[in-house]
Structures are given as structure tokens and as C-alpha cells.
């Protein structure tokens, strides 16, 4: 991965290097500006966003390799690339990796980086908790993947891991243990992050930024965080039950003792369906920023977009059992869930038409970001409509658990989610790194991705309707599956080639950056607040916190309308943008404790699986770190330049004394 910060941002006082006595005396309080170690202790939302993004892209490659293995196995009938056992592990881990280790953290990367910038805040509400979220997530991700090494293989029960196939009797290897515990660790990270970002969105908006002036991306992320907040505890319950069954011989899914396997399905899908919206809503947010910017028009029907997002968020809770139409529920519940599923298409359709209406009468500039955004709308529309076809419960009995569904959700998640996030990468890259991604390479990346994507997943519609079951490690000759499977495999390698091009683009654009004009604060003539600060963003974000007077406040700073309604420029971006040269901005101090807390969690996990002594050590590490964290003031007293009075007790929110901040952060080459 070539995403490496060139010049580490300096945080805090570079000249004040004092090591005072610290709680428990384990770590000296990190002071910032000390190279790579600074990344371990950072509480800067932008750096945490970058950490999320880099790790997510790494796991995208891991999940991608797994996808290629799947496609190689299925390229021809009776495939023999993988054994049935390994295939089941690979397809399970492909799903888990792509959902929990790629799309969600990539969305979290954008959320971390841009929510504070879009609402005019200097950081999230709880900077150290934010660091905790990342490290816990990373420790969970690594824990999950160590199952390949220490457990002899990954989980082999599918990402949905239906009981009772997930029980010890039917899945005796430790793979499922890693799934059950790993997902709990990841869930904890997302839960902490959800609380943090919700409070950030609700509480930290710049003066004048009412909820209905909030950028649409932030809105969609806020809805996503609420979905996470309420969905995660449900999967947590399910995972606890599974873990208790497997580790402590509980009887939750033991059918011989009278358990009902559908309990797992209900709990899983009450989480699992909102999860779909958790995946696509951030991408919808990105698309809703990119399309207006490059159409040079405000988002059409902002209120409708916000409320349709909220409607999707609400209705997303009432549709989970459409994953279970063939499980043997009664016809009344089947009909009810079928109906609710259909009507969630209404707010979704509204979004699509509002995006088109945004483009209507616009002046569209097809940058790579815009191409990805438009492709997102197109591909998501296909995925949405194939979803409508199997929302019809009787038709669903023919289509569910076939490749038709695989096609459907890849159009939704890859077409709607991943393409949208790629749009975000091209859109915000100059803001994050201070240089553009190459548009020329980006074009190739886009077209290869789009063609490869359709070639991979388009044929799966046909395969599914021809009756090809999901999750089969091989298929026999003579069912008519050969041609389209081979096509899909070829398509998947095009996607791989496209991804390689993207990585090349990352490398190349960084290499070429010194020889090209810097993007400046607002390269796309965009609308929201993050474009009012320099690129890359200074460590304190805003020199002065802006006063918000309208929606798209930054755009209105640059443009007005004359009496005929014609747009006239009132200030250039360069004039209106902040310089990023403020000093004396108070920022929260870095801390090693979030990392330290996170380190204990995988140990607890290994302990539950192999030897409880590990768990004890892990618990001591985590609890000890939490204790030290609690005793550590948010702001390092030694980094403070002014005298302080008696309320430096750690538990209240009153000890915000200012810190000199000599920003040597102009990483512009």
C-alpha cells in the first residue's frame, strides 16, 4: 500500500518534550510529532480516518484474492482449484472480509475524516474513543484473519453462519469460534464509533448549522450510525449465544435439546438487513455530494433526500424476514414482510430520480469521481430492481439462495456501495493528500471496473434463473452453467486488473505530485465546508470556526445570484478559504491507551478458544488500560502552556486548556 503520509503532521508542541509521571507509569504521555509512533497514539480524526482507509484497502485486496479464488474454482464445471472444505472457508471469509473489513471501515474512514470537516468541528466528540474504535476494529480484523494460521482455517459456515450448522457438532474446527468472537470485537468498535459520531453530528456543529443545513453526506452517515447503534446489539446477542453454545456448552442452538434454529436467523437478519443500508447509505451520501458538485447545481430536493434517507433507515427495520421467505414462516408473516420490502423501494426510487433531477439542466463535468458516481446510480438501479423482482415472496421461492441473489446484492453492494466509495476517493483525494489522483489512469480504472463488474455479476442473474445454487463449491456439467460462469471469472479478473490500476494510480500520482500544480483548497469548485480549508487539511481543521448562514454555506461564500437569477462569483475559493496558519489552537493530546485497550481484546478471544489463561492476561491488559485511560487527563497538563487551576480531574469536561500549536503541517510539496 502506497498510502503513506509524506511528512507527518505536527501536533501539539514540538518544543515541549517533557516526560512527567504517568498513571501506572507504563507509557510516557505521547507528545506528537515523533514519526510512526505518532500514528499509534494519534487522536486526530483525520489520521484515524486515513488509518481506517489504508487498512480497509488492504482488506479489499485480501477479500479480492478470495473472490478470485472463488471465481477460479467456478470457472469450469467440477472445479478442482480448491477442496470443498477450503472453498467453504474462502467464500465465508470473502463475505466477512468485504462487509466487515472493507466496506464498513472504508465508510468509517470517510465518516471520520469528513464529518467534523463538514460540520465545522475541530475533531469528533470523543477523540480518544475514536482512536479506540480504530484500534479495536483493527485488532478484531487481525484476530479474525489469524484463524487461517492458528485454527487451521477460517470459518466455514457462510457469513450468515446459520445454526445449527455453526454448532460444534457440525463445524468442529475453531473457524466459527473466530467468527463469533472476531465479529464481537468488530461490533464493539463500530458501536463505540457510532456513539461517538452521533454525538459529534448532534453536538459539534458549527454555529448556525442546523440539522437541515447539514451536508447530505453527513446526514447519510448520521443515519448509518443510528442503524449501527441499534443493529449491532442484536448481532451481539446472536454472537454471544453462538459463542456460549460453542465455548460453554449452552443449548441455544442444540436442536436435540429442543432449540429453534430460526432464532439465529431472526437475530442475524434483524442486524443483517439494516447492515445493507449501513453499507449503501454512506455511498449514497458520497454520490449526493459528487453529482451536485460536477453538475454545478445544488442537490435537487435536499429535504426529500434527507427524509428518504431517514425513511430507508426506519423501514430497514421492518423487512428482515424477507431473507427467510422459504424458512417455513406462516403465510401471513411472509405476506407482511413481502409488502414492507416492496415499499422500501419507494424512498430508494425517490433518491435515484432526485439524483437524475440534479443532473437535469446541469453543466456536467465527467471527472473520474463523477463517472463513478453516475455509475453508482446506474448499477444500484439494476440491483434495486432485481431486488423488487424477488421481493415478491412466491417468486422469491424460486430465486432465493441462487446466483440471482448473488448478482442482486453485488449490484447493490459493489455497484451501489463500492463504486460510490471509489467516487469519494477520487473526489476527496486532493483534500486528504494535497494532490490529485491521475484522471488518465483513473479513467482506465473506471472503465475497467465498470466493464469487469458487469461481466462478473451480470451473468450471475442468468445463472441464478437457470437454477445455479449459491454457496456450491462446484457444479456438474450439463446444467448449462458453463458459459456464464467462465464469463464471470473473466470479468472478475478485469476487476482485479482495475484494482491494480488504482494502486498504480495511488503510487504514480504521489510520485508525480511535486511536478504538478497543487489542487488548492477547492479544486472542484465544490459546496461544503471541507473545501474551505487548505489541502491537505491542517491538523486543527479550521483557523476560525465558521458561522453558517445557509445550506451549502461554502458555495454561497463564493457565489451569489444577480437580479436575473444568474450566478455571479463574489469571491474566489483562494480568497475565501482559510489559510490554515492559525496558532494556539487547543487540540486534544494523543494517547497510547486506546491502542493498549484494543490489544487485550484479541487475547481474550484466543483465551476463550484455546486457554482461559490468555483471556485472563487479555482482560488484565484491557481493564488496566481502561483504568489508566480514566486517570489520564484528556489534555496533557505538561503540554499546556498556561497555568491551570484545580480542576484537572480527569472525569469532567472542564479541563480544556489551550496548547500552543505551531503548525508545520503544510505538506504541500
Amino acid at each position: 500500500m502506497a498510502i503513506v503520509e509524506k511528512q507527518p503532521l505536527e501536533l501539539g508542541t514540538a518544543d515541549t518534550v517533557s516526560y512527567a509521571e504517568k498513571p501506572l507509569g507504563v507509557f510516557t504521555r505521547p507528545q506528537g510529532g515523533r514519526g510512526w509512533r505518532d500514528w499509534l497514539s494519534t487522536v486526530d480524526h483525520k489520521r484515524i480516518g486515513i488509518l481506517y482507509g489504508v487498512s480497509a484497502m488492504f482488506f479489499f485486496l485480501v477479500g479480492g484474492v478470495q473472490a478470485l479464488l472463488i471465481r477460479l474454482q467456478l470457472a469450469v464445471p467440477d472445479g478442482s482449484v480448491l477442496s470443498a472444505d477450503v472453498y467453504n472457508q474462502v467464500y465465508t471469509m470473502h463475505g466477512v472480509t468485504m462487509v466487515f473489513l472493507f466496506i464498513m471501515p472504508l465508510a468509517a474512514a470517510f465518516a471520520n475524516y469528513f464529518i467534523p470537516l463538514q460540520i465545522g468541528a475541530r475533531d469528533v466528540a470523543f477523540p480518544r474513543l475514536n482512536a479506540l474504535s480504530f484500534w479495536v476494529w483493527l485488532s478484531g480484523a487481525i484476530f479474525l484473519n489469524t484463524s487461517w494460521i492458528v485454527a487451521g482455517g477460517g470459518a466455514d459456515c457462510g457469513w450468515f453462519c446459520y445454526a445449527p450448522n455453526s454448532g460444534v457438532a457440525f463445524s468442529p474446527s475453531h473457524g466459527v469460534d473466530f467468527y463469533a468472537i472476531g465479529l464481537q470485537i468488530l461490533g464493539l468498535a463500530s458501536l463505540v464509533s457510532a456513539v461517538n459520531l452521533i454525538v459529534t453530528c448532534l453536538n459539534m456543529r458549527a454555529p448556525g448549522m442546523t440539522l437541515m443545513r447539514m451536508p447530505i453526506f453527513t446526514w447519510m452517515l448520521l443515519i448509518t450510525q443510528f442503524l449501527l447503534l441499534f443493529a449491532l446489539p442484536v448481532i451481539t446477542v446472536a454472537l454471544f449465544l453462538l459463542m456460549f453454545d460453542r465455548v460453554f456448552d449452552a443449548q441455544f442452538f442444540n436442536v436435540d435439546a429442543g432449540a429453534d434454529p430460526l432464532l439465529w436467523q431472526h437475530l442475524f437478519w434483524i442486524f443483517g438487513h439494516p447492515e445493507v443500508y449501513i453499507i449503501v447509505l454512506p455511498a449514497f451520501g458520497v454520490v449526493s455530494e459528487v453529482i451536485p458538485t460536477f453538475s454545478r447545481k445544488p442537490l435537487f430536493g435536499y429535504e426529500f433526500m434527507v427524509f428518504s434517507g431517514i425513511a430507508i433507515g426506519f423501514m430497514g427495520w421492518g423487512v428482515w424476514a424477507h431473507h427467510m421467505f422459504v424458512s417455513g414462516m406462516g403465510p401471513i408473516s411472509v405476506a407482511a414482510f413481502s409488502l414492507s420490502t416492496m415499499f422500501i423501494a419507494v424512498p430508494t426510487g425517490v433518491k435515484v430520480l432526485n439524483w437524475l433531477a440534479t443532473m437535469w439542466g446541469g453543466k456536467i463535468r465527467f471527472t473520474v469521481a463523477m463517472k463513478f458516481a453516475v455509475a453508482t446510480v446506474a448499477m444500484f438501479t439494476i440491483g434495486g430492481l432485481s431486488g423488487v423482482t424477488h421481493s415478491v415472496a412466491p417468486a422469491n421461492t424460486q430465486q432465493t439462495d441462487t446466483y440471482y441473489i448473488v448478482a442482486h446484492f453485488h449490484y447493490v453492494i459493489f455497484g451501489g456501495g463500492v463504486l460510490g466509495l471509489f467516487a469519494g476517493l477520487y473526489f476527496w483525494w486532493p483534500k486528504i493528500w494535497g494532490h490529485f489522483l491521475s484522471e488518465r489512469v483513473g479513467n482506465w480504472h473506471f472503465w475497467l471496473t465498470l466493464v469487469g463488474f458487469n461481466l462478473t455479476f451480470g451473468p450471475m442473474h442468468i445463472l441464478g434463473l437457470q437454477g445455479m445454487s449459491r454457496r456450491i463449491d462446484s457444479y456438474a456439467r450439463g446444467y448449462g452453467f458453463e458459459f456464464w460462469n467462465l464469463t464471470a471469472t473473466i470479468g472478475s479478473f478485469l476487476i482485479a486488473a482495475a484494482t491494480a490500476l488504482f494502486l498504480w494510480n495511488v503510487f504514480k500520482s504521489r510520485r508525480d505530485a511535486p511536478y504538478l500544480p497543487p489542487p488548492g483548497p477547492d479544486p472542484w469548485d465544490a459546496r461544503s465546508l471541507e473545501w474551505s480549508v487548505p489541502s491537505p487539511v491542517p491538523v486543527h481543521n479550521f483557523d476560525t470556526v465558521p458561522q453558517i448562514r445557509s445550506r451549502d454555506d461554502w458555495w454561497h461564500t463564493k457565489y451569489g445570484e444577480d437580479s436575473t437569477g444568474k450566478v455571479v462569483q463574489v469571491a474566489t475559493a483562494q480568497e475565501a478559504a482559510q489559510t490554515g496558519e492559525a496558532t494556539g489552537v487547543h487540540l486534544p493530546s494523543p494517547s497510547f491507551w486506546p491502542l493498549s485497550v484494543a490489544l487485550g481484546l484479541p487475547l481474550i478471544g484466543y483465551g476463550l478458544i484455546f486457554n482461559l489463561w490468555f483471556a485472563l492476561i487479555g482482560a488484565l491488559v484491557t481493564i488496566g488500560s481502561l483504568y489508566s485511560w480514566a486517570l489520564e487527563p484528556v489534555d496533557d497538563p505538561d503540554a499546556a502552556h498556561d497555568d491551570h487551576d484545580d480542576h484537572d480531574d480527569h472525569d469532567d469536561g472542564s479541563n480544556d486548556r489551550a496548547v500552543d500549536n505551531s503548525d508545520s503541517n503544510e505538506a504541500t510539496p
Binding site: P172, S295, A375, Q398, Y479, P517
Partner: protein
């Protein structure tokens, strides 16, 4: 204003519109594949036809119309509004923020569209769920009974069992009260891999499982139904004409999920009665010496899991399998498939598929992945370390386990 290094739009997105249409085209063409035995667009019974015509096709058309509409709008917008020269065209268009009547309009439009889909759903729902109270006369043990055509379908890792109750009929409520798929009441006919049904009758299926969740699916005859342990779920199928209809387990059920297949053979009522007559008897006693030797081998080794009625039904103990059962082999030669529906028992010319059967007896794990861990319950057939002589004897014995000559079932499906 900086616009960065924007490359002139290549072919813009015009081509993506073409892709959309292509995708839609192949979607519709999906039904045309003729060699696809699992094709969901080729219904062959009244239930699946009605389901297809009410619940599937109209909704596909609605989706197609919406997709074409949105695609055309998108392509037009892209073509109409794209900036042709990035360097000279620096105008700002008029800043429309929204249009409430328009937005309400398409909200209502989508609502009405979905209401139409909902109506189609409600219209097609009874086709898969309602159950007729049909009966057919079946002769069993010399007397005629009014059979309410019902088959109890039991999923196991990784094969299907089909149980027929003629003389002492069961119904759903009774089975639900009884509750345990591992100790079902004794049936007149127990077969596996291949379900035989009479044409023209609606067959009620009661679907359950002995271990994990499976899903029973014969696409040509109806949609699928999960086989959930501790649950008995009603389902139904009906075939219009005699034939062989294929299926595949569709709920992931562990290692050999992909090798868990099933067939439904529809026979006209006379042939069905003939099948009942043959199959409700005890196993055929072998006569030739090799088959007799095979019976001895079978009784010594195979009966720890498998049942052959007349040989070990009274001394049978539960199989050493997680599901507690293995296929009932009483009429092994009466079926045209074995090993969970993945191998043909007979070649095209009607002769025994000896090669595969022998290979299977030599080492089943090589042909079908399974979990055989010493000391634990098996899932799948273990390697029995048989020598070649034993294998030959067993094949001779198994080939004789059927009252009718080999392959008659396939012939019967081709009469029509």
C-alpha cells in the same frame, strides 16, 4: 477556479447505457437456455406455471420498464448536459433546489408501481401455499386406501429421504406434535435421492431435517422450502406429465452442500401404482452365490448404518451419523441414482453403472467430500476398507435389490 487536470470525457457514459440494455436483454433471454435442467423459467407443473405467470414474469416486465425508463432518462441527461469544452464553458446553470410537486409526483408514482407489484404478490401467494384436499386411490398390501398425496421429505447431510405413508397416514399437525425428525413413525415406503410422484396430483410435502438446515427445490415444479430441524414445513409440488425433474439443495448445509441433489420422478398413476407395489415389499432375497456373499458382507458391515427391510429392520440401531440415519437401501436397484443424487445407477443403455458404484464402495470420500473423524459421529459414508472381492459381492447384492429390472423408471418417464 481550479478544475485540476480533468481529461476530456472519453466516450462519456453513453456506453454504460448500452450496458444497461444489454444486461436487461440477457435477463430476459435467461429463460431461453434449453439445456438447463434446473431452469426456473421453464415451469412444468400447474403450480410452478401459475407462480411463474403471476409472480415472476409480470414483475420482471415492470422492473424492465422502470429500468429502461431510468436508463433512457440517464443517457439523455448525460448526453444533453455534459460540458463539451471544459476550458471555455465556465457558465453556471440556473440553480434549481428542488420542485416539491414533481418530487411528490414521483414518490406517488413509485408508490403506485410498488402497489401493483404488491397486488401481484398477493395474487400469486396462494399458488404456492394453498393446499387442495385431493385424494387418490392407492393399493397397498392388497387393500385400497384413499391416499391424500403426501410425502415426508427429510434432509440429511447430504442426501434426501422421502417417506410415504399409505396405510397409516400422517398429517402435518400430527408430525408437529410428534416433533422429532429422528424418530419418525415407520412408513410404508422409505426411499432416498429420488422421489416418485403420480402426475396430475397435488402432492403435499412435509419438509424437515435431521441435522442442519437444507432446502428442497425442484425448480420445474415449484419454488423451494427449507428443511429446518425441529420444524415441519408444508410445501407442495405437482407435475403435469411424466418426467424426471431435477433439484439441488439450496441452503448451505456444510461440506458437500454442492453434492446434495435430488430428483423427482413423475409417473402416470398406473406406473405409480406399479412402483408402490414393488417398493412396499421387503427386499428381494438374493439367489446367485455372489449376491448371497454380498448379503453377508452387507449384514456384517453396512447394516451398522443402512437398513434393508427384511434383512436388518428389526435389529437396526441408529446409524453412527450425526443425522442418525443413512439411506434405506431396500430397493436400491429400483432407483436410478445414488450417493445423494449425484451419480446415475445405470448407464444410458440400461446396464448397471458398475464403475462408479465400485469406486464409491472403494472410498466414498474421494467422490464426495465428507467428515469422517474417528471417535466422532460421521457425516457422510466412511471408507470401509473393503477388498475387491467384497466390493464385487456387494455390487452383485445391491444390483439385485429391486423388484423390477434396472432402469424401468427412466423408461416410464419417457412413455408419455
Amino acid at each position: 477556479m481550479t478544475t485540476g487536470r480533468i481529461v476530456k470525457p472519453v466516450a462519456a457514459l453513453r456506453r454504460s447505457g448500452g450496458l444497461l440494455l444489454t444486461a436487461m436483454g440477457v435477463l430476459i433471454a435467461a429463460g431461453c437456455a434449453s439445456d438447463a435442467e434446473l431452469d426456473t423459467f421453464a415451469p412444468q407443473g400447474p403450480i410452478s406455471e401459475e407462480l411463474h405467470n403471476r409472480g415472476v414474469l409480470p414483475v420482471f416486465w415492470i422492473a424492465a420498464v422502470v429500468l429502461v425508463g431510468i436508463s433512457i432518462a440517464m443517457i439523455y441527461l448525460i448526453w444533453r448536459n455534459r460540458v463539451k469544452n471544459y476550458d471555455t464553458d465556465d457558465e453556471w446553470p440556473s440553480q434549481t433546489h428542488g420542485h416539491v410537486p414533481l418530487e411528490v409526483g414521483w414518490t406517488v408514482g413509485f408508490f403506485l408501481t410498488m402497489a401493483a407489484v404488491a397486488a401481484l404478490m398477493l395474487w400469486s401467494l396462494p399458488t404456492v401455499n394453498a393446499t387442495e384436499d385431493n385424494t387418490m386411490a392407492v393399493e397397498i398390501d392388497g387393500r385400497s386406501v384413499d391416499w391424500e398425496p403426501t410425502v415426508v421429505v427429510v434432509g440429511n447431510q447430504w442426501w434426501w429421504e422421502f417417506r410415504y405413508y399409505f396405510s397409516d397416514q400422517v398429517d402435518l399437525a400430527e408430525l408437529r406434535a410428534h416433533g422429532d425428525a429422528k424418530t419418525l413413525p415407520p412408513a410404508d415406503i422409505v426411499t432416498s435421492g429420488q422421489m416418485i410422484i403420480p402426475t396430475g396430483e397435488e402432492i403435499e410435502l412435509i419438509v424437515t431435517s435431521r441435522d442442519v438446515i437444507h432446502s428442497f427445490w425442484i425448480p420445474a415444479l415449484n419454488g423451494k422450502r427449507d428443511a429446518v430441524p425441529n420444524r415441519f414445513s408444508p410445501w407442495k409440488i405437482q407435475a403435469s406429465s411424466p418426467g424426471l425433474y431435477f433439484g439441488q439443495c439450496t441452503e448451505f448445509c456444510g461440506l458437500s452442500h454442492s453434492r446434495m441433489r435430488m430428483q423427482t420422478v413423475a409417473l402416470d398413476p398406473a406406473d405409480f401404482q406399479a412402483w408402490v407395489n414393488n417398493t412396499s415389499l421387503d427386499a428381494v432375497e438374493p439367489v446367485d452365490p455372489e449376491a448371497l456373499a454380498g448379503q453377508e458382507v452387507f449384514a456384517g458391515i453396512c447394516t451398522s448404518c443402512h437398513v434393508v427391510e427384511g434383512l436388518n429392520d428389526d435389529v437396526f440401531e441408529r446409524a453412527d451419523q450425526a443425522s442418525g440415519a443413512a439411506p434405506n437401501l431396500t430397493h436400491f436397484a429400483n432407483r436410478s441414482t445414488f450417493a445423494g443424487g449425484i451419480f446415475n445407477s445405470y448407464n444410458a443403455d440400461g446396464s448397471l453403472n458398475r464403475t462408479v458404484l465400485e469406486a464409491w464402495l472403494r472410498n466414498p470420500s474421494e467422490l464426495k467430500a465428507n467428515y469422517i473423524v474417528p471417535g466422532e459421529q460421521y457425516r457422510g459414508m466412511p471408507n470401509l476398507d473393503l477388498n475387491e472381492a467384497q466390493i464385487d459381492q456387494l455390487v452383485a447384492y445391491l444390483a439385485g435389490l429391486g423388484a423390477k429390472p434396472a432402469g424401468w423408471i427412466i423408461e416410464a418417464t419417457q412413455v408419455d
